[in-house]
C-alpha cells in the first residue's frame, strides 16, 4: 500500500522531474515479474529495477526490521494511505525492508537522502525538488 502511495505521488511529478533535466528511477526488492505487473498497474513509464538480494538497500543504509513495520506509526500511515486511495495488494518482496529516496548527481554526489524509518514514512516531495536543478 505504502509503496503504491509513494510511486503514485512520484508518477504525478515525472514531467516536473524531466523538466529539471533529471530522471525518476524506482528500485524494488520483489522479483522482476512482479515488478512488471506493478509497473503496469501503476502506469509507471520511467525506469524500474529490482534488487532481490537487497544489496543496494544495505549499501545505502536503508533500514529494516519487524518492529519498524508493526507499530502504531505504521497504522497511522496506513489510514492516511487508505484515505488517499492506496490499497494493499499481495506483498512481493521483503515486508520488513524500509525504503527511501535519494537524489544523486552525475559523478555520484548525494544532493538529497531520506531513509524511511517505518512503512509510509515518505519525505516531502518539496524537499526532493529542492535538491534538483532549477528549471
Amino acid at each position: 500500500m505504502f509503496c503504491r502511495e509513494q510511486v503514485a505521488q512520484l508518477r504525478l511529478e515525472v514531467d516536473e522531474i524531466h523538466a529539471r533535466g533529471a530522471e525518476l528511477v524506482v528500485v524494488g526488492n520483489g522479483n522482476r515479474h512482479f515488478a512488471q505487473a506493478f509497473r503496469e498497474d501503476m502506469g509507471l513509464t520511467t525506469p524500474l529495477y529490482v534488487d532481490t538480494k537487497r544489496d543496494t538497500y544495505r549499501a545505502l543504509g536503508m533500514k529494516r526490521g519487524v518492529l519498524r513495520t508493526l507499530s502504531f506509526g505504521t497504522l497511522k500511515n496506513a489510514l492516511r494511505a487508505r484515505r488517499a486511495g492506496a490499497r494493499q495488494e499481495r506483498i512481493q518482496g521483503d515486508p520488513w525492508q524500509m525504503g527511501g529516496i535519494l537524489v544523486v548527481l552525475p559523478g555520484g554526489k548525494i544532493a538529497y537522502r531520506y531513509l524511511s524509518e517505518s512503512p509510509g514514512d515518505h519525505p516531502p516531495l518539496a524537499d526532493v525538488f529542492k535538491a534538483l536543478p532549477a528549471r
Binding site: A37, M62, P106, K109
Partner: protein
C-alpha cells in the same frame, strides 16, 4: 555534499529484461531521483 560510496555505487540492480546494471549507471548522464520502495504490493 556526500558521495555514494564505491561499494553502493557498484552494487547491482536488474532491469525487467533480467540484465544486470551497476547502480551508478542510473546517475551517469543526469541527476536521478532514486526511489527505493519497500516491496511491490
Amino acid at each position: 555534499m556526500d558521495k555514494v560510496d564505491d561499494g553502493a555505487a557498484s552494487s547491482l540492480i536488474r532491469d525487467l529484461d533480467g540484465n544486470e546494471h551497476e547502480l551508478n549507471e542510473t546517475w551517469a548522464e543526469k541527476p536521478v531521483v532514486l526511489a527505493f520502495v519497500r516491496h511491490f504490493g
